[in-house]
Amino acid sequence: MRRAKTIEVEGVSLHYGAVEAVRGVTMTIEPNKVTALIGPSGCGKTTFLRSLNRMHELTPGARVAGRIALDGEDIYAPGVDPVEVRRLVGMVFQAPNPFPTMSIYENVAAGLTLNRRRMKRAEKDAIVERSLRGAHLWEEVKDRLHKPGASLSGGQQQRLCIARAIAVEPEVLLMDEPCSALDPVATLAIEELVAELKSRFTIVIVTHNMQQAARASDVTAFFNVERSGEPGRLVEVGPTERIFTNPERQATEDYVSGRFG
């Protein structure tokens, strides 16, 4: 097991222009664990996730306040290049988004070819194979590596995107509802994969699906928004089992027991 990095979040508030989307989040995201962010729509969990690899600021007018540190290093410190942060903190998106002009092989190698100096063919081949195996996709695509990535099924495309993300060996893997566009079989495949990937990465996964959080995560953070128009807040964070069986807050209990949301 490789020790991945810890993320410390202190008093983080996130804005879109004049609108405050998330207020005052403080939590520690443990290395080599799966942390699930759950909560109703509009509670800011995706916004919060995107602040962890500095994708939030790509939205015009977006601002970040507070401190987010990766093993003690502030990723928002002046002089830190967001591009470097994103090399350490990879991301998988809600809908599979393979590059349509690239083959399966090129998609997996994209992070390498787009960023690094040239590498030997054999070296690249090895990384592509390792990443596809890591994403449980190798057996299905090994005979058609040079077919377009878009020719795969939705579930395969999402695993291709995971392979693409892990090929650059990040420390942290952020997943924004990675299964919401997939059927139950493909969802199960991704969940099994996530359980395996935590031996190498710190994983943060946003999900709308509470069973998924219960099945696939070690730690669960519940976000909530009291009234529409108010910023989302972190209500409670703790071991998944405790959050689902014995939460401290009434709102958490109401949410995980399906009373709202």
Partner: protein, 304 residues
């Protein structure tokens, strides 16, 4: 099991296609289809008759001489090789000038521009696309006159004038092509730690490639038949000139115009050459759009 009410023969069936409402709907459907078909035919009619007329009058003049000989030292005859070459050279240089400017401006508008500067550029592009072509020609003439004195005529001047007309067309259609590239692809590249310029160069532009080719082809087709701006910039000449930086250069549109305006002693032959030049221009435009289709199809096969 008791028979259901709907199954008894007396009750009207909901699915029966003979009902009056269904008949009325089918009638309206047919009427609408016929109206649309008629509108299409009406739109095609002028185009078809134009193509037919140009082909009928132009084909007799399209001999070997038309493409191989210039009109140098010939009285009332000769070919149009100098005009064909001139059109290709002038338009080619215009493409070389306008395409980088237009594509980069489009990339600025879709990928980098924010707020005021972007709105200002967009307004300028709109204004530019309304410039009458003769104004573009006079602009190019005035620009070169500053450096080379009055009466200057160069092939490249025509290219500059055409480039002024091309840039807004390239910007507008390239912008549309770039806008269609899903934001999720840009995000995927950023999340891999790719800098913005590389994301644009390696992900956005390749994804929009087919649309960008169309943008360039449309703009080229738009200017290849321009006459007025070339009359005042490239001038009229009877002999072949392949150097856009050295003296006058003929082109097909102006050739057709001069053959028609001053046919000389052999009127019929001159008119025939004018039509042949018009037909050649149409052929060039057609070849351009076919080439664009071909490039798009090859690209689509590679990606899909």
């Amino acid at each position: 099991m008791a028979a259901r009410a709907g199954a008894s023969p007396a009750a009207p069936s909901l699915l029966a296609s003979r009902s009056a409402a269904a008949r009325a709907r089918r009638l309206r459907d047919r009427a609408a289809t016929a109206a649309i078909g008629a509108a299409f035919a009406l739109a095609m009619l002028p185009l078809a008759s134009l193509l037919y007329e140009v082909a009928r009058r132009g084909l007799p003049g399209l001999g070997a001489e038309f493409f191989t000989a210039s009109a140098r030292g010939v009285v009332g005859g000769g070919g149009a090789a100098h005009a064909v070459v001139g059109t290709l050279v002038i338009t080619g240089v215009a493409v070389v000038i306008a395409v980088p400017i237009g594509l980069l401006a489009a990339i600025y508008l879709t990928e980098y521009g924010r707020g005021r500067p972007r709105r200002a550029l967009r307004l300028l592009v709109d204004v530019m696309s309304g410039i009458p072509s003769i104004v573009a020609g006079l602009f190019a003439y005035a620009l070169f006159e500053l450096f080379f004195g009055p009466g200057i005529r160069l092939g490249v001047m025509g290219s500059v004038a055409l480039a002024v007309l091309m840039v807004p067309v390239v910007v507008r259609s390239a912008e549309e092509a770039l806008k269609v590239v899903p934001g999720s692809l840009r995000e995927a590249a950023y999340a891999l730690g790719t800098p913005q310029w590389k994301t644009i160069a390696r992900v956005v532009v390749p994804t929009a490639f087919a649309g960008l080719v169309t943008a360039v082809m449309l703009a080229t087709a738009r200017v290849v038949g321009e006459t007025a701006p070339l009359l005042v910039t490239t001038g009229v000449i009877d002999s072949l000139n392949v150097n856009p930086f050295d003296g006058r250069m003929h082109n097909l549109a102006v050739y057709a115009y001069t053959e028609y305006r001053s046919p000389g002693a052999f009127r019929e032959a001159a008119f025939e050459r004018a039509w042949a030049a018009a037909l050649t221009l149409i052929g060039i435009v057609m070849a351009l759009s076919l080439a664009a289709r071909l490039i798009q199809r090859r690209h689509a096969r590679r990606t899909a």
